[in-house]
Amino acid sequence: MPTISKIQSLPVTSISKILGSNYSTFDKIFGADAPQAASFSDSYSVSKSITTGSGNRVAILDTDGSFNYVGTDAYSISFWVKVGWTSSLNTNIHLFASKDVDGGTSDDMIRMYYNEANNRIYFDFRQNSSVKRNNFWLFHSQASAYVAAYNAAGLGSSYWSASNRGNVGDDNFTMITITKGTASSTASSNIRLYWNGTSCGDPFSSGGSGSGTPVMTTSDRRFTVGSNVTYTKSGDGAETEYNDLTVWNKKLSDSEVLELYNSGTRLDATGHSAASNLKWYYKFENNGDDSSGNSAPTFGVQGDSNFQEI
């Protein structure tokens, strides 16, 4: 193992983490200023209005194929959410959703929603309205098949709502992550849901549900946060806040999700050990700009939706 023989006068107060550095060529450092790591501010989130319609959307209308996953692509999508809806919502709040920009409402769809009436999170992807796969996790049962999700969420026997947020990280935000492998399937072997850094275990159906095997196209997509693809199903009661959305072009491992959770404190994802697989990174720091370095499209935040100080 190569070692550093000497470091002198190196200010390190702004360095939070060094991963995978190779010191083999270092012999001596005298009086060097540490390179200033990109500052990570975390003062804002994006708040999706409960008023709906395109005029109140939080969305990307992609024009350059930036998010164009097909059925056999591996990917992971992670975000932090501070729930605003009530326990009498009795419908499906969409956490994110995407579809072909120009196609029908189910064409090339990838989405996640919370089915409040049954206390389940669904993950769903589709080629169209008839070729689709989905699966879900439920959170209120301690039966052996569901206890992993029960423990991960910490909701107890009640529904997820603003008055029962379950296990949370900083500022009452929960990190939700879906990871998908290369099969065009929602089988338990291919997808994983994480609540904060903890796996929710196997989804309900070991083989997944739906019909057919979605192929999907690489067409440009509409990607919404906090609503479905037609800009409804955003909840009730109070606005739900979203923060630090990341999209990765791999199926993140358990340890990589745990690293991203960072014990509940949002981190700069560009410093994550899988940062080379980071495709989208939206911090929502009072703007909808991408911070992945890939020049991904900017989120439009319209109408009653807004950036909000945490």
Partner: protein, 84 residues
């Protein structure tokens, strides 16, 4: 497939193994139910998922909290699980 709105008493008599989709009203007094069973005394009967969905969208306040109604795809995708 059969599409109904039924009350609590009728629900108690249903064959749970034949239920495909179930959604309770916000006031907990009624159910939207999609089932292969024929129910004799429903509050309302609908010819199709489309008709039932349109009904809940005309009168959403009794069924959902976001004023949207129940979509057809929800009836397809949100599977009823007995006892959970």
């Amino acid at each position: 497939m059969n599409y109904y709105i039924i009350n609590i008493a009728a629900f108690a008599e249903t064959d749970k193994s034949k239920i495909v989709y179930l959604h309770q009203s916000i006031d907990k007094t009624k159910y939207v139910i999609v089932t292969t069973e024929t129910i004799d005394v429903p509050i309302a009967t609908f010819e199709s998922a489309t008709d039932l969905s349109e009904y809940t969208m005309r009168y959403p306040s009794g069924w959902v909290g976001d004023n949207t109604g129940i979509t057809e795809e929800e009836m397809e995708d949100i599977k009823y699980i007995q006892g959970i």
